[in-house]
Structures are given as C-alpha cells and as structure tokens.
Symmetry: C2
Subunit: 427 residues, 2 copies
C-alpha cells in the first residue's frame, strides 16, 4: 500500500474518484451511528445490576461510625466510602471527601469557590484580575467549558507522550501569579490515553508557583479503567508526592464511579491535604447538609473494597477491549500505511485520539456526519473549541455495539482517505 | 394557677426557690436529650424502607422517554419525577427541574448564580452594589446562613398570623432596586408553622419590584407535611398566581422529599417559569451532566403519584402528631396559665415556635443545656443570629422518642418557669 504523499497526481485523482463513489454508496445506506459519546454501553451497565440488590428494606442502615444512613448528617462522606475511593486513587481515606453523583459538579464548585470565596483565605480569584488556567491539549472539553464559563483565560500546553510539556508548565506556573490552575487527566488522558510518567508527576509536585492559591486540578477520572489485565499503567500518587516535595496543598484530586457503576448514579469524590479539606468543608456547610449516604453505602456493599472494584473493572475491560482492538487494527491496516493519520493505542480510558493530516479534522467530522456517523466535534478537545492544526478527532468506541462500531469505523476510514486525498490535491 | 406577673415578690421568691430545687434535681439525673433537630425519627424512616426494594437488578431501567436511567444524560430530571413533584406543590410538570439530594443545595446554587452570573441576562448581583434580601422572622437559619455567606444584607420582616407583613414587603420590594429577594416558607413555616393566606400569596404575586431581577425564594419545604388528616392547610399555587398577576418570572419555588423519604437520599426540585428554567438550564449544563435518575425513579416507583405520597405522609403524621400534641398539652397546662410564654399550635411542619418573656430565650436555652437538654440556639431563627427581643425558641419535637420528648419537655417547662421568675424578680 502506497503512502498518499508518495502518489502522483493521477494516482490521487483515481483514488479520489474511487473513494467518492464509495462515499456515495455509504450515504445511500442512511446510517445512524455514533462514535462521539464517552458513555458505557448497556452491557457494561448490566455488570453493575447486582448493585441494585445489595441494599434493601432488610439491610442494616448504620455506618460503622454509628450514623443512621437514612437520616440527615455526615457532610463529607461515610468512612466506608472514603476507604473505597482512597483505594481507587491510592491516597489515604482521611484525605477524601465524598460528594454527590458527579465529579464534574465537584470541579465546577471548586472553581466557583476559588473565584468568589478564594482558596484557603486568599483573595478570590475574581478580584485578582484576569486569572489563567493551563490546559494541556488535546484535553477534556467539559473542563475547558467550566473555565471558559467563569471567564478564566485558557493557555494551551502541548501534551507529550509522558504528560504535559513540563518546561512550559514550570515556566508559566513559577513565574506568573495570575496562573491559578492546570487541568490534568493524569492516567489514560481524555482523549489521548496518555499516562503521566513518574518524572512528570514529580515535576508537578515540585512546582514553585508564583501564586499561593495555584492548584493542580488532578482529574483522575480513569484511575481504574484499564483495558488489559497484564499491562496496566500506574502513576505516582500525587498527594504524597506533593507532600514529599513540601507542597502538600498544591493539588486537588477528583474521581468518581461514573464509569465504574452507573453514570449519574455513582459517587464522586475530592482528595486533598487537610488544609484544603478544612477550607472546603467550611464552605460546604453553607451549601448542603450532606450527600447521599445510601448510595455511598450501596457502592461499598457491592464492591467491599478496591479488589472487588478492580475485579468488576476487569469484566468491563473484557467488553470494551475488543472495540478498541478492532479500531486499532482497522486504522493500522487502512490508515497508517497510507500515511494519513496517527494515534496512540491506549492501555485504558475511554478514547482514541486520531490525528489526521493538518487541516482535515473539521472536514472529516462533517463528512462523517453527512454519511450518518456522529463524531465528537472537531476542536472540542481544545480551549475555545479551537484546534490550531485542525487535525485532532476524538473517537469514543465504548457506547456502540461492536457491530455498529465496526460499521462506523469503516465509514470513518473511507472519509479520512477521501478528505486526505482532497487535501493533498489542493496543493 | 396564678400568672407570674400577678404574683407578689414573696410569691415569686418562693416559686424561685422551689424551682431551683427542682432544677438541681433534674441536673443530677445527667440527662442527654435533644429537642433541637428538625429530623425525622427512626420510626418515620422505617416507613420508607419498602422504597429500597422497588428498584432491583430485575427492574426495567427505561424512562417513559426511552432514556436508559443507568447512563449519562437528562439534565433536568425524568418526566415521571417531574410529575410526582408537580403533584406535591400543585404546579405543572413542565415547570419543574429535578436536582440532586438537597433543596438547600439548589437554593445555594441559585443565589450563587444570581450573584455571579446574573438572573435572566441581568447584571450579576455582585456588580450592583450591596444587594439585600428580606427575611421574614423568625425563619430558617440555613436560609439566612446562605445569604450571609454571600454578603447579602438581610432585612428582617415581621411575621403575622397569615404570613409576612406585606405592607413592609411591598414597601421594600416596590421601591428599592437593591432588594433582590425574600425567603419564604409559605406553608407550615419554619419555625412558626404559619400558613400564608390567599391574600398574602396574591399580594406576593402582584408585587411590582423595583429590580427586574428580584425573585421570591418560595421554599415549599412542608408542602405535604400535615399533622392532621381532616385539617390540612392549603395555600394558593404561587406560579399560576404570579402568571395571572402578569409576573410569571418573579418566583423560584423549591421543594424536596427530604422529610418524605430519606433525608440526604431524597430528590430536590425547583419550579419556575419557562424563562427562568431556560436561564437555569443554560448554566446547569456547565455544572453537571445530570442528577441521579435511578433515585428519581426509585421515588416514582414507590409512590406512583401524589396520592401514594400523601398516604405515606399520613402514616408519618400518625407518628409525629402525638409528639406535637403532648407538647401542646404540657405548654397549655404549665406555661399558658402562668403567662410566661406563647406559641401557635401548628397544623403541620416540623416545629413549635415558643415565645418566652422578653430577654429570656438565651438563658432558657443555656439552662436547658446545663440540665442535659439541647435546644436550637436562641437567635438562630434570625438573620445574624440576632433575636431583638431575645424571646424566640424553636422546638423540634420529631426526632426524639415520645418518651424522651416528654422528659425533655418537662425539663423545658421547669427551666422556662425558673428563668421567667428570675426575669420578673429583676424588675
């Protein structure tokens, strides 16, 4: 198979004509497929159904701390749930606050609190001028949506194979007191599947921020979302690394069971130093009387501990892995040899990040749409929706059935080839 | 029995000595009782236990709108839950947004949004100067805590037997553009049990606010919390009254099932005009992907509809009513004839609001504490914790057993008598 870049103009025109014909045939099928949504498939959710039975009218509704789980109280989570979450992210239970059903909400609240109340006694961000966030790109669109919503200036930071460009991060954080935070998905990052190396984590922990109220927003969303049993990424535990580096308060870590049990009906959590937790609790007491302790206990009663949770995630991996492998094989066969796209085959998480030829992503997504295949919007993984090279496409393989995913992937391949040919013919 | 005010000094001194002796004996018992907490008792919670069985691993997890309740999605609540909540407060389902587990959190978020994003395109409150809230007193301490937290100036408004002093409300709202809101608990108010009359509700609906972004914060917390089957308060439905008065956007209504099923594991809701809902949804989309739909369906599957919910509340009333009646009888027998306290026997809600002689509330609460009986802090029902007459004490009868409540109430009576005697002897 020949690289498109090595084809003659005549070869490219012939390829274009063949692909146009194929694309027309696809369009006539009237497909309605979707590779845009980072959602579990129904069979993954089925695996959590037994959790609906672990609490029932005959259960003991007492926490080990004596509290009646059915009544008011318990601002920051029951101890059993703190232990479970601590197991997920490798920190100490006493550093955990358990929230409601959504870690996105926890992050939103944390930014809101920093903007208007200030962090740990510091002046609210909103009174300090135009504050800034570092945004490793490509990244998670809902992170960027929150910072944009609050009027925070976003500065893109290039992602490397082992994490964000730490030279750039250090340069911004250690010199500019208006840089107040950075969004990180340290394990199986959304969308690239990057795993932060030990060196990167240590450099994060050792930052010397110009701003006292700078915080790393460490969204450990895919902490337990491995695809392979024997090849699982591990990252250094950030809280203890920060403590060792003399920076105990520099990080806020987030996680949830949204993609472990039921999205929307999971439990979310924040982990941080005692100083940060005390600050957060002092505000939280105005906001709520406490979160859903029954759902916290439901998760604990189902998983018991991190081993139970990991065993559950292995079953999910068995359902997801074939989807990732199929896509990887198809792209390896149809795209790589033609030189028209790259990606890293991830070991976990929910996405494959495809990089097309420059200037092609929007057109690929549009042409997929016209052929009945919905992709995540081009640009979505960038602050302000702006992909400077217009070449990043987030593929979400989990939600469709393997069969539908295969159909969608074949359309995607044809479209990538067609748009690439067109791009090369423009020159 | 003689009124204390009619006793001679000698009689008062004799009474004081007898009461001091009685108080000492009580203190020696080492009691640990609590009439401070507006929480359901365990037997009330037991009534909701069957709700823990209505969803299980064999259930159908589809909403009537086709959505998989176990997955992401549904920003503003499933239609089934909207209908149930609409039944509770008498509005239309399309005016309801279902949230998470706490209406306090909904109110907090609403104030935060108004402060920093602004309401319906208006300038954020925080940029308009020192904004103000009207606070009918006595009222709910957590309402006042939220407004104080956000630096909103609180103006006390006197409560009458049929609701807030509407002359004062109209005068403030219709003339001062910095008056942005008022806290209302329109039915069985916390703590007095006041039910707003139709005239009061209509005057609220007909307000002509000087501020376009003024909102009535209508916390219908006790909408279904009647004590008697045959003597239930009804209030006019505020949304439709506001619409009729040409003020559809003036009100935000809040409610929850916290004291219907399980506090902390209930569902909370907001009801408002379509313009308000659109404004709220546009912000909510940054904050969350959606709330716990399984718990929404759990409530619907248990109650089916408002009739089922009302039947459930009747059972709760049977458990609570004897506590209220016992207290009312004791106060009627021991306090009223001595002229040292007044209260209104409520038809619903969670509290009895006791008014002692002026200048006695703090001392009564302190002396109860010393005798092992915890009361809500004196002053708590007032903005900034400041009760100008120092004579309001909130009694919460639901949480203790009837037996413990009776013991606590006897201590309370002795303490009220003792503190009243002391007060009269000061003169």
């Amino acid at each position: 198979m020949k690289k498109y870049q090595e084809m003659s103009r005549e070869e490219l025109v012939a390829e274009k004509e063949a692909l146009e014909a194929e694309y027309q045939k696809i369009k006539e099928q009237g497909l309605a497929l979707d590779m845009s949504r980072g959602k579990p498939a129904a069979d993954q959710l089925d695996l959590s159904l037994p959790m609906m039975d672990v609490l029932n009218s005959k259960s003991n509704f007492k926490s080990e701390n004596g509290m009646d789980l059915r009544n008011y109280g318990c601002l920051d989570g029951i101890p059993e749930a703190k232990r479970l979450v601590a197991g997920m992210i490798g920190c100490k239970p006493e550093n955990v606050i358990i929230y409601g059903n959504s870690s996105l909400n926890v992050m939103y609240d944390q930014i809101a609190r920093a903007m208007y109340d200030g962090i740990c006694g510091n002046e609210p961000w909103c009174k300090q001028g135009k504050v800034k966030f570092l945004c490793p790109v490509p990244g998670y669109d809902r992170h960027f949506a929150i910072t944009e919503h609050f009027g925070i200036e976003m500065i893109p930071i290039e992602m490397h194979a082992d994490g964000p460009d730490m030279d750039a991060v250090e340069s911004y954080v250690n010199n500019d007191p208006l840089v107040k935070g950075i969004w990180c998905v340290p394990k199986y990052s959304n969308p690239q599947g990057v795993v932060y190396s030990d060196e990167v984590v240590r450099r994060f922990a050792a930052l010397k921020p110009a701003a006292k109220d700078f915080r790393i927003f460490w969204d450990n969303a895919y902490a337990v979302h491995h695809l392979y049993k024997d090849n699982q990424a591990q990252i250094l535990e950030i809280l203890s690394e920060c403590e060792k580096a003399g920076n105990p308060d520099i990080v806020l870590e987030f996680c949830s069971t949204s993609k472990v049990t039921f999205p929307g009906s999971g439990i979310a959590a924040l982990a941080a130093s005692e100083a940060n937790l005390a600050d957060i609790r002092s505000q939280l007491t105005f906001q709520t009387i406490g979160y859903d302790k029954l759902n916290q206990m439901r998760h604990v009663a189902y998983f018991h501990d991190i081993d139970g949770l990991n065993a559950h995630m292995e079953k999910q991996a068995e359902l997801i892995r074939p989807k990732f492998e199929m896509l990887n094989e198809l792209l390896t066969k149809e795209i790589a040899p033609r030189g028209i796209g790259t990606w890293v085959n991830p070991l976990g998480g929910y996405f494959i990040c495809f990089e097309s030829l420059e200037g092609c992503a929007k057109e690929i997504v549009a042409k997929c749409k016209d052929a009945g295949v919905t992709m995540t919007g081009a640009g979505a993984p960038f602050p302000y929706g702006s992909d400077p090279k217009d070449n990043v496409i987030r593929i979400a393989p989990t939600f469709p059935s393997l069969e539908n995913l295969a159909k969608a992937a074949e359309v995607f391949v044809v479209v990538v080839r067609l748009v690439s040919v067109n791009k090369l013919l423009e020159k």
